[in-house]
Every structure is written in C-alpha cells, then in structure tokens.
C-alpha cells in the first residue's frame, strides 16, 4: 500500500530545507569565484534568520512591526556587553543576546498588544526610536555612534572539542549550522497548534477571541519570541562585524527588513524572507558596485513588486510552480508527482 502523502508542514525537516542546506554548505567553495566574498554569505545567513524571526510577527501574525531593528541591535549590544562584563563564553553571550532582546520585546509587548493596525504600527516605531536614541546617547555603555568595538568571535566550545571561529569560512559554517537549527525550530513553531492559533488571529482577532483564545497573550508572546530570535541573530551579527553599531536600530534599517520580507514574499510563504534577503543583499553588492544610487533602483524594484506582484517573489514562484506541477500531473497523471509537489512545500 502506498502511504498517504505526508504534508511538509508535518515534517521536521522538509526537502526544501535539505536542498537549501546542501547548496548553502557549498557556498564557501565557489563564492569567491563568482566575484563575491565569503563574508557576504555570513551576512545573508544572519539577515535571513533575522527576517524569518521578523516574519513571525508580520507574515504569520499579521502584525505590522516597523521598529524591529531595535531587537536585532539590542541582541548585538547584549552579546558584546556580556562578552566584556560577564563571561567571554560563546553560548552564554548568545543566550544573553536572545534573552535581553526577548525582555525588551516583552516590555514593548506589554504596551502594544491590545492595539491594532496603524496604532500598533506606530507604537512599534516609537519604541524602536526610543531604543535607538538610548543606544546612541548612552556613550558609556554602547559607545554611542562609534559603536561597541572589539567584539571577538569567541570559540565554539563543546566541552570535548573547541572550534576557532575567527576565520570567515569557519564562522560561515558555524552560522549555517545555527541557522539550520533555527529554521527547523521556526518551521515547527509556525506549524504547531500555537502557530495555527496565531494564523487564526491574523485572519480575525474577533473570531479568535470568540473561540476562547486569549488573543492578547498570543499577540504578546509571538512578539516576544520574534524579538528574542531577532536578538539572537543580532548577537551573531555582532560577531560577524566584530562590533555592534546603533545604525541597525534606525528606522531605515528596520524598514529594510520589512522590504526584504515583502519583496521575497513573506506574507504567503515561510521562505519568502530568505528569498528577499538574498535578493536585497546581492542586489546591494552587485548594483552597488556599478552605481552609488543602488537604493534608487531597489526602490523602483520595490514599487514594481508592490504594484504588480504584491505577494512577492515566493508568491510568483508558487504560482508558476503550481501551474507547472498541475500541467505535468495532467500529462503523466502520476501519484508520484503529487507526492513530490503536492505537499504545499512552499507554504
């Protein structure tokens, strides 16, 4: 008997993850040959994690958060400050980045989770600006506009073995492994019963509340989780940059993560934010090498996406994919194809 096709949303590791992981694992082997550089790979992975965390709030819960850079930046500062003042241990510092950003998110969630729409959106901006201003003005703690410098890439100590992460390639693989674990965790979270309730709240807060769910608690908790994972990504970013700067907390940079997520198609797909980060950072480097005004072209591209493909690149791929798989299914009439393509992999 042929087993019933298992939906990807029930899997721990999906085929897409495996393929993506394998491709990403080969990146250091060829990235220099195509004219890019290994550090870009690190940046893409870290921003992908950040964008995935951000999309928990925007895409999964449908909450417009426009000041998310604050938590990314707080994570970076927490990583550095933990390293300098508490203990120079990789795991402790990453945990600090996660926890402190989560705490900041919890503080904000207290004030905003009973609000909706434009009022919610602007409260997140206001808190983002408050954190950003505090980061810039607290010279003694954060180094002000100069940033918190001399953050080290601490070795990954597993007790039985310790890996030096100072080199870009070693650090790339470390980030890739962390990214992989985080992706699996986020995939499970989104497809858990908890994630379903969040998606229901996105559709209608009122209906979810009438079904007996504590909407406030769900909205607050997904925000805290998103902030914490963003902060974790920020901790990795501090290691990558060897410093923590306030500019990632600015409204501009918070806007970029929204753009990346939407251009990629975060509203319709789990992978949307990752696609968006790839496009954004590679466009920045490739177009940026040709002209100073890359933001002009990216802005025009963004306008075109909003006008013609509001569901983003992932939405366009999904549409194309479904047509193709439908056509090929019609041609071959095969269960095998339905097994391969039918599981809603892109969702």
């Amino acid at each position: 008997m042929i087993p019933a096709p298992q939906s990807d949303s029930a899997r721990l590791i999906t085929p897409t993850m495996l393929v993506l992981g394998l491709v990403l694992a080969t990146v250091p082997l060829w990235i220099a040959r195509v004219g890019l550089y290994p550090y870009l790979g690190i940046e893409i992975l870290i921003w992908s994690l950040y964008a995935l965390a951000f999309n928990l709030v925007l895409g999964t819960a449908g909450l417009p958060s426009f000041g998310h850079g604050a938590y990314f930046g707080i994570g970076a500062y927490a990583f550095g400050l933990c390293q300098f003042n508490v203990v120079a241990n990789l795991w402790a510092c990453l945990a600090a980045a996660f926890a402190v950003a989560g705490l900041a998110g919890a503080l904000v969630a207290l004030f905003i989770s009973h609000r909706r729409g434009i009022y919610y959106a602007f409260m997140t901006i206001a808190f983002g600006q408050i954190f950003w201003t505090v980061a810039i003005k607290s010279h003694k703690v954060t180094g002000g506009e100069d940033g918190l410098l001399k953050i080290a890439r601490l070795p990954a100590d597993f007790g039985f073995a310790s890996f030096d992460l100072a080199g870009n390639v070693a650090f790339y693989y470390f980030v890739l492994i962390v990214f992989g674990i985080a992706v699996i965790a986020l995939w499970r979270l989104v497809h858990s019963p908890y994630g379903r309730v969040i998606a229901a709240i996105k559709q209608s807060e009122t209906r979810a509340a009438h079904l007996g769910y504590n909407v406030w608690l769900y909205k607050a908790s997904i925000f805290v989780l998103s902030a914490a994972v963003s902060g974790f990504a920020g901790g990795l970013f501090a290691m990558a940059q060897l410093a923590a700067f306030p500019d990632v907390m600015s409204l501009h940079q918070s806007g970029y993560v929204v753009m990346m997520t939407l251009v990629g198609g975060g509203l319709v797909s789990f992978w949307g934010p990752v696609i968006g980060v790839f496009l954004f950072l590679i466009a920045r480097d490739v177009i940026g090498a040709m002209t100073n005004a890359w933001m002009l072209y990216f802005g025009l591209l963004f306008i075109a996406v909003v006008l013609f493909r509001p569901e983003g690149v992932a939405g366009a791929i999904m549409a194309a994919w479904q047509n193709r798989s439908l056509n090929s299914m019609r041609q071959q009439g095969g269960t095998a194809l339905r097994l391969l393509f039918g599981g809603g992999r892109w969702r």
């Binding site: 417009p64 004030f111 009973h114 609000r115 909706r116 729409g117 434009i118 009022y119 602007f122 409260m123 901006i125 206001a126 808190f127 600006q129 408050i130 201003t133 505090v134 003005k137 409204l251 501009h252 806007g255 929204v258 753009m259 939407l262 005004a293 933001m295 002009l296 990216f298 802005g299 025009l300 963004f302 306008i303 909003v306 006008l307 509001p310």
Partner: protein, 306 residues
C-alpha cells in the same frame, strides 16, 4: 513660571510647525485612508525646489532667468511659495497614478508603495543636489530678530508659526465649509453612493492626494530656514507627521492640530531641560497616550486599524 514662558512660547510655535508638517499627511489619511510615507520626501522636495528657485541659478531659460533674478526678493519668495508646491504636485500626480492600483486592498500596500517612492525621491535628491546642506534665502522683512522682555526672539519663527496657523485655518475652511470638502468627505465615507451621484471619484481622489502633497511642499518651504535643507530632512519630517496623526487619532482634524501643539510643547520644554533627550519626548508622549486610548486623542473608526 515666568522663566518657563519663553519655552512654552517656543514650544507652541514649534507645535504649529509640527501641525503644519502633519497637515498634508492628515488630509490623505483622513479622506483617503491611505498612509503616504512619501510625505517627508515631498516635504524635502518642496524645500529643494524652493532653494533652487530662490538661488543664483533658477531652473529657467537664460532670458527668463535674467528677469526672474531682477525681481525683488520678496516677490520671488511669494512666487516660489506657489511655484515649488505646484512642481511637487506634479510628482504627487505620478505617485497617485501608481497608488490607484492599491485602493480597496489592504492599506499596507499603499504604505509600502509610498515607502518605495520615498526611497526613490530621497535618492534622487542625493543624486541631484548631493549630500551637503543648503540654506533657503528669505526676504529681509521676516529675517533677523527682535527684542521683547529682555529676550531676543527670532522673527522668522513667528512668521512661520503665523503662516502655519493661516494654512491650517484655510484647510479647515476648505474641508468643513465648501461643497468640495463635503463631497470629498462623503467620498471617504461611502464611495459607492458618491459614485452613483455622478461624481468622478477618481478625479476627486487625485485632487485630494495632490493637495496633500502640495501642503507637504509648503510645509517644507516654511520649515526649511529653521531646519536647514539636507537629504535627511524628509525622514526628519515624516516621522513627526505620522506621530502627530496617530497621537491625534486618524480622521480627527483638531486632534491632529492639538497633537501637533502637544508634541511641540513636549519637545520645546524637554529641550530646555534635557536637550540630549528632547527628541525622545514625543515618542514617550505617544506611548503614554496610545497605551490608554485606543484611537489616540479623538480618532475615529477606520480601515487602518483592521
């Protein structure tokens, strides 16, 4: 108390300017339920156009430029106050033509579209005028300062506040006391009925949007001599404008004006005692109000909170 008076006066003039900056934004939010994040960039564009018109090399053919430069400064300034917003209005038309496609969808799309437009305009400003600061010339009559009660006051601040109050009053008259305003408000309230009455709603929306962008440009020209002209001024304007609308509540004219004054007072007073942190005060004010009031001060129900 008497020590506080200059700061309060300063805060109130600043508040009128904040209300002026928010005015065009409010019009588009209130009457079209669309968030125009390009508001700040259009504000900056207004200032840059005015600077170009008032500067030594106006954007005219040579002979016209000669006679333009021969005009007295006051006349040129008055003409600039009309010409620069008109030019920005053309940009507004272009944005509205794109924005049309998002009407009826989630308001998030209009917000994102104008965010993209803001990026493009800001980058174009950088490409055209560079990143350096410019100064906008103003007529002698409103320049300089005067002494009152042992203190030196800037004439321009009071002139700017006066213009702001006048523009706010005119916009209020237009919305509340003319048939144009009544139609526009009806269109925002129930677009189907207004269409059924034979009113061209598409053109009406275009008019409202362009009017909003021209108000942004006027605010830019008025505020430019105080803030200076630089590419970042757009972002510096759109955030307070957005804040004033959210604080005052979507759809409330006087809510926005009062919110503008409150923000001005907060920034002015905190600037007097802790200037490092004065910009924070408006965000704290917003958080304090919106935590307890679901729709800002006097906001009305709208699709923007769905």
């Amino acid at each position: 108390m008497f020590d506080l008076l200059p700061h309060i006066l300063n805060g109130l003039t600043l508040g009128l300017l904040f209300a002026l900056i928010a005015l065009g934004f409010m019009l588009i939010v209130g009457l079209m339920e669309q968030i125009n994040l390009a508001h700040g960039s259009l504000f900056a564009l207004g200032a840059y156009f005015a600077m170009q018109l008032m500067g030594p090399r106006p954007p005219f053919p040579a002979d016209l430029a000669q006679s333009w430069l021969a005009l007295p400064l006051g006349w040129r300034y008055a003409a600039t106050l009309i010409l620069a917003p008109a030019a920005v209005g053309l940009v507004g038309i272009a944005i509205e033509f794109c924005m049309r496609r998002t009407y009826g969808k989630d308001p998030l799309y209009g917000l994102l579209l104008t965010f993209g437009a803001a990026m493009v305009i800001e980058e174009m400003i950088r490409l055209t005028w560079g990143t350096r600061d410019y100064v906008l010339q103003v007529p002698q009559a409103v320049n300089g300062g005067f002494i009152f009660g042992d203190l030196i006051w800037s004439t321009y601040r009071f002139y700017a506040a006066g213009i702001a109050a006048a523009v706010i009053g005119l916009v209020w008259l237009l919305i509340e006391k003319t048939s144009f305003g009544a139609t526009v408000k009806a269109g925002a309230h129930d677009s189907e009925i207004v269409r059924a009455l034979g009113i061209n709603l598409t053109r009406l929306r275009l008019l409202v949007f362009v009017f909003g962008t021209m108000l942004a440009a006027i605010a830019g020209i008025i505020v430019a001599p105080i803030w200076g002209i630089r590419p970042h001024m757009g972002v510096d304007a759109v955030i307070p404008a957005f804040l004033v609308i959210v604080l005052g509540g979507v759809g409330s004219f006087w809510g926005a004006v009062v919110a503008g004054l409150l923000v001005g007072l907060a920034v002015g007073l905190s600037g007097a005692y802790a200037s490092e942190w004065s910009l924070l005060s408006m965000y704290v004010l917003l958080v304090a109000v919106v935590t307890f009031r679901a729709r800002g001060l006097w906001g009305k129900k709208s699709v923007l909170e769905a």
